[in-house]
């Protein structure tokens, strides 16, 4: 199993799998199958996948411990960057297709509409994490500081879920489900943190430096 997780092929396969939503979207664009309201469809689609990838990324650390597969850490950075990738697509759709580069309208949205404020917060918090995701940055910041910085991902995910919740009109099933998953993850991390504060639990502690520091 260890060998499987450490294989470069596995990583490439997982990456390709994670790009399936993007490829599907591109295919639908090419086929002109983006529903009657393409802008809305692309916006919702990329937004959905951003939250999903954020939650998948956050699941890596707990899953390493639960499944006793510490090598899973190899995928965390890639998954986080994919979440950022989908967030950027989401953001670009908003800027280019929805707001059509109207800066005044965008600014008004950001300050007047709380769901946009929340979404923007989530995105802005992800950006420094994407930039400092390399092994070089872990070294430069020192692992403790780097780790502290990357805890922002929880705030970012929370902002994303709130962004979604504030957007929907009445049917809150999906945002509620995402909120539930995030709550479980937070509780798990909090609980694991409490335990590891007393005794060492290596399985839930991230490897340092990341096992795939070579990239």
């Amino acid at each position: 199993m260890r060998k499987f997780w450490l294989s470069g092929w596995t990583k490439a396969l997982v990456c390709l799998l994670c790009l399936v939503p993007f490829l599907n979207l591109s295919w639908r664009f090419y086929q002109n199958k983006l529903t009657a309201n393409p802008i809305e469809f692309i916006t919702h689609y990329t937004g959905d996948w951003t939250i999903r990838f954020l939650l998948i990324t956050l699941a890596i650390t707990p899953l390493r411990g639960i499944l006793n597969q510490p090598q899973l850490i190899r995928f965390r950075r890639m998954l986080g960057l994919l979440a950022f990738f989908y967030a950027c697509l989401h953001f670009t759709t908003w800027i280019g297709l929805d707001k059509q580069f109207d800066t005044r309208e965008m600014w008004e949205d950001v300050i007047k509409r709380r769901f946009i404020t929340a979404g923007m917060t989530g995105l802005l918090l992800m950006a420094p994490l994407a930039v400092t995701s390399t092994a070089g940055w872990v070294r430069r910041l020192g692992y403790r500081r780097w780790q502290l910085l990357h805890r922002l991902v929880y705030i970012s995910a929370l902002a994303g879920v709130i962004h979604y919740y504030w957007l929907v009109k009445s049917d809150i099933r999906l945002p509620a489900m995402y909120a539930g998953i995030l709550a479980v993850q937070l509780l798990y991390r909090f609980g694991a943190g409490l335990i590891s504060g007393r005794k060492s639990v290596p399985a839930t502690r991230p490897l340092h430096p990341p096992a795939d520091a070579r990239g």
Binding site: T35, A36, N37, P38, E40, L97, R113, K169, S170, D171
Partner: protein, 301 residues
């Protein structure tokens, strides 16, 4: 030169094609049940803008009884039974009356009215409705002097509308108009679209079409019309009063909490739709602005 939808593909051709495809791909029971309406006269109230494709108008719907996804009603309402159908005219009237579908269809000559349809979510269609002025239905009864508003109620059957529970809004769906709005010549009782009876997802067998108000005011599948003295409760106003008032006139100057109403995306134009400026009263100000001369449109949104 102005191209009309009818210039592109002959209506019969593409409808036949669609029927063939539906029949070939799905079971014969899933074939479209819409029937052609005859004796339709063109209306001077129609816009000359190009109507949105039939496919878009009938597959992208807000009909929460059949799910909150826009693509859900077309699937989940497929077997919706709209026959037999009766509508009750009641409340502040001298003599209440029940009408069945056949009687309603014969109340007035059918007109084709190509109206702009502006959704509160910021998108718009141009739809060739078939129907007649709502006033023709309302005139079937004699309102008392107390009648100031008209309250409408949609059909609701949780057994047929299984997805309605997830919508988290109260059903049956209710709407209301002031009596003068309801009697206005632009206010339509739509019985069809694109020359055919309404598909279930568009509000079969008949629905309201109030073109100067946001789409959700145009209540679907009406079973009850009640004349009342006081402003009646309306579904979205009860759900979110800060966002939805009673009037809900299209107004670019009054924002919705989650978005500006200054612009809209006209769907079906180009690859992504076309962003256009929203007009006060959805461009029907010449006909309807006089209804609201003494009213603050910002307060009465």
């Amino acid at each position: 030169m102005h191209l009309r939808h009818s210039d592109v593909t002959p209506k019969e051709t593409y409808l036949n094609r669609r029927r063939f495809l539906t029949a070939a791909l799905a079971s014969p029971f899933a074939a479209r049940a819409e029937t052609r309406l005859t004796g339709i006269v063109k209306s001077p109230f129609s816009t000359t803008e190009t109507p949105t494709a039939y496919e878009a108008v009938t597959s992208y719907n807000n009909y929460y009884e059949f799910g909150t996804g826009k693509d859900e009603p077309v699937k989940l309402a497929r077997n919706y039974h709209t026959s037999p159908w009766t509508v009750s005219l009641e409340g502040e009237v001298v003599k209440p009356k029940m009408l069945d579908l056949d009687e309603v269809m014969k109340l007035a000559p059918l007109e084709e009215r190509i109206y702009r349809h502006r959704c509160v979510e910021g998108w718009s269609f141009v739809i060739p409705w078939v129907g007649f002025p709502l006033s023709a239905l309302l005139k079937q009864v004699e309102p008392t002097s107390k009648a100031k508003y008209v309250a409408f109620q949609s059909y609701y059957d949780p057994k047929q509308m299984l997805s309605s529970r997830q919508a988290h809004i109260q059903f049956p769906y209710v709407e209301g108009l002031r009596l003068d709005e309801a009697m206005h010549p632009l206010t339509l009782l739509s019985v069809g679209v694109y020359g055919e009876t309404l598909p279930p997802q568009n509000g079969a067998p008949f629905r309201l079409t109030v073109p100067w108000k946001y789409g959700f005011k145009s209540i679907k599948s009406i079973v009850k019309v009640r004349f009342v003295e006081k402003q009646p409760p309306t579904t979205w106003n009860m759900e979110w009063p800060e966002a939805y008032g009673f009037y809900c006139n299209v107004n670019p100057a009054v924002d919705h909490p989650t978005h500006s109403q200054a612009t809209e995306v006209r769907l079906g134009v180009g690859r992504f739709g076309q962003k256009i400026k929203t007009q006060l009263f959805n461009g029907y100000g010449d006909q309807v602005a006089s209804l609201y001369t003494v009213m603050d449109l910002r307060k009465n949104y």
